[in-house]
C-alpha cells in the first residue's frame, strides 16, 4: 500500500485516511462574508443633555470673556486719567526740584549761547509734523468739532444756570437797608 492517497489523493484510498477526512473535513475553512455581531456595535451613545451642557458652558464662557475684554477696554482710559492730571501739575515743581540752586542768570547765559540757541531749532525739526487729514477725516473732524462745541455749550449753559440759581437767593440782601 502506497502513501500516494495520503499526499495527493492518487491510487487506492485508505479507509482510515478517508474516515479522518470526514471527521476533520467539518473544520475546514469555509469562506463567508464578514459580519459583526450586534453586541460589538457602539454600545454607548453620548447623552445629548451633556452635549448641550458643554455647549452652554462654552457659550457662557465666551460671553464672559467678551464682557471682560470690553470692561478692560473701558477701564484702561480710567487708569490713564489718574496719570494725566499729574502730568499737568508736575513740570514746574520738577524743574525746581532738579535744580533748586540754579542761578537766575543761567537763562540769559543760555540765551546768549549760540549752541543753546540752536537747540530749539533742532528740537523743532525733531517734532513730527501734524499728519495731514484726508478730506474724509477732515469732514469727520469738522462734524465732531461741531458736536463737541454743541455739547460743551449745553454743559456750560447748564452749569451757569446752576450757578445763577444758587447765587440768586443771596442777591436781595444787597437791597436791604442798614439798620441803625
Amino acid at each position: 500500500m502506497s502513501d500516494d492517497y495520503l499526499w495527493d489523493k492518487r491510487g487506492e484510498p485508505d479507509p482510515d485516511v478517508q474516515r479522518l477526512e470526514q471527521i476533520l473535513g467539518t473544520l475546514r475553512y469555509q469562506e463567508k462574508p464578514l459580519e459583526f455581531p450586534e453586541q460589538i456595535a457602539p454600545a454607548r451613545s453620548i447623552n445629548p443633555v451633556f452635549l448641550l451642557a458643554i455647549a452652554a458652558t462654552l457659550l457662557i464662557a465666551l460671553v464672559a470673556a467678551g464682557l471682560w475684554l470690553m470692561v478692560r477696554k473701558n477701564q484702561m482710559p480710567r487708569n490713564q486719567l489718574a496719570i494725566a492730571p499729574a502730568a499737568h501739575s508736575t513740570p514746574k515743581p520738577e524743574k525746581e526740584a532738579i535744580a533748586p540752586n540754579k542761578p537766575k542768570t543761567a537763562e540769559p547765559v543760555a540765551a546768549n549761547n549760540p549752541e543753546t540757541q540752536r537747540r530749539p531749532h533742532f528740537a523743532k525739526a525733531k517734532i513730527p509734523a501734524k499728519p495731514a487729514l484726508s478730506p474724509m477725516e477732515q469732514q469727520e473732524a469738522f462734524a465732531a468739532k461741531q458736536q463737541l462745541l454743541l455739547a460743551l455749550r449745553l454743559a456750560s449753559e447748564k452749569l451757569n444756570e446752576v450757578q445763577r440759581r444758587t447765587v440768586a437767593p443771596t442777591t436781595p440782601m444787597k437791597n436791604q437797608h442798614k439798620v441803625g
Binding site: P85, K158, E161
Partner: protein
Amino acid sequence: MKSLFHHNYLKLLIATSFLTMAVQISQAQTPRLQLNSLDHLAAKASETVDVSIDERLIQTAIKIFKDEDPDEREIKKLVSGLKGIYVKSFEFEKEGEYTTADLQAVRVQLQDPAWSRIVNVSSKKDGNIEVYLRMHNDQIIGLAVLSAELKELTIVNLIGPVDLEKLTKLEGRMGVPELGIEPTKPKTKNEQ
C-alpha cells in the same frame, strides 16, 4: 463617573455665573450713563439734541482746533483729557411731555455710591437741575448734569478729568451764547 461629571459641570457653571456677574458689576462702575431709555422722548420733542462723542472722535476733533486762536486753544485743553461726551436734550412744545418715570432709569444709575450729587436746585417755576460728580483719587472722572425743566429735559454726561471752572467760563466763547450771568470774581493776590 456620571455624578463626577455633573459635579464638575455645576462647579464650572457657578464659577462662570459669578464671573459674568462680576463683569457686569464692574461695567456698571464706569462713569458713562446709559441714556437709551430716553430715546422714546424724541418723538414727542419739538427739538432734540443727541450728542455722542467717544474718545476717538474727541481726538479727531482736536486735530482741527487752531492753536493760534486762544479760545480754541482753551477748549482744546479742556477736552483733550476727556474720554467721552454724551448729551441728550429734548425741548417740548408744552409742559408735561415727560414724566419722572422717564428719568428713573438715569436716576438709578446716579444713585450708585460712586456718584455724588454736589448741587440740586429745585424750583416749581424753573424745574430742577442736579449736578453729579464721580471722583477717583481726588480727581473728577465723570460729570453728569440732569436738568429737568418744564418744557426741556437735558442730560449731560462728560467722562474724564473735567475742569468745572473752565467749563463754566466757556459760555460766550467760540459761538457759545452767553446768558448774561456775572462771572465769579477773580481772586485777588491777598486772597490767594
